[in-house]
């Protein structure tokens, strides 16, 4: 992880297909990895995080949809427990997988 980067989880619940696709694309464009259908994980710096927040605000309908952005420190991330089919290994790159081990 580069200096100034933060590990971030993005989890969303969006009703409209087009808006959901746009948020998913924004996540991918920011270099986040798809962990589950509506959950992304990756590293962002302070400005990228702020930019991403602004983008999501513009895409979603605040009265119907929700997007959670959780920053997480690396120490806490290492304590994460994965049970069952926790994430699709095909979708997550080696960099993120290495953090789970």
């Amino acid at each position: 992880m580069k200096a100034g980067d933060k590990l971030v989880w993005v989890i969303y619940d969006i009703t409209e297909n087009t808006k959901r696709t746009k948020v998913a694309k924004a996540c991918k464009n920011k270099g986040l990895y798809r962990v589950q259908k509506s959950a992304f994980l990756g590293t962002l710096n302070k400005n990228q995080l702020d930019e991403f927040k602004v983008m999501c605000e513009d895409i979603i309908s605040p009265d119907k949809d929700s997007v959670y952005i959780f920053p997480m420190c690396e120490d806490d991330f290492k304590k994460v427990k994965l049970l069952g089919q926790a994430f699709d290994r095909k979708l997550v790159t080696d960099e993120v997988k290495a953090l789970f081990i």
Partner: protein, 200 residues
């Protein structure tokens, strides 16, 4: 006879000056090497531009009476050969105490701390207004759009004016001599810099 500014007059904009204050190497890359920043690719920059476009058309007659404003000019283009600056001021406010004040809109969040760049930009606007309107300017305002348009007041001191003029001189110095300036001492600024790949 009034000498009008033309595009070939050597002048810099307040934006170029604040970029120089942020990191002097911006001036070198932009003005000496002509490498563009491509700031238009940044989402927040585009949002800021939309904000400025909206502001020019919506609510044009609204006066901020709380600030003691009696009249205003919107999007005023001013130049000064003396300090070598040209720029567009979002709003020039006529205050009830017979002074003027610049108002600048920022697509940013309000903090108690006033960033050096915001202060320098506002001070340069103040200098431009003083010269062109021939009226005193003691304070300026910044409107933070991301914090429900909260207004911050900046009271200028003689030190601010000297610092702003000095910053403009520094920009011209880099451009005219074409030397590679020292980078900013704050390494946090390099993390998201558009020139980080070529800056050594």
């Amino acid at each position: 006879m009034t000498v009008f500014d033309n595009e070939s007059t050597p002048m810099v904009t307040p934006s170029e000056v604040i970029e120089h204050v942020y990191c002097p190497r911006f001036t070198y890359y932009m003005n000496c090497l002509n490498i563009p920043q491509h700031e238009g690719l940044r989402y927040k920059v585009l949002k800021g531009r939309t904000l400025h476009e909206k502001r020019e058309t919506a609510n044009r007659d609204y006066l901020r009476k709380k600030l003691g404003c009696t009249d205003k000019d919107i999007s005023v283009y001013l130049t000064s050969r003396n300090i070598g600056v040209r720029g567009m001021i979002d709003e020039v406010l006529y205050l009830s105490d017979n002074t003027l004040a610049p108002l600048d809109y920022k697509y940013a969040e309000y903090t108690d701390y006033t960033f050096e760049t915001h202060r320098v930009q506002s001070t340069l606007y103040a200098l431009l207004i003083m010269e062109n309107y021939q009226k005193p300017v003691h304070k300026g305002f910044i409107c933070y759009a991301k914090s429900e348009n909260r207004i911050k007041e900046i009271v200028y001191t003689e030190k601010d004016f000297c610092y702003a003029k000095g910053a403009v001189r520094e920009v011209f110095d880099v451009i005219l001599r074409g030397y590679y300036p020292e980078r900013t001492q704050w390494q946090n600024r390099c993390i998201d810099c558009c020139y980080r790949n070529i800056c050594v």
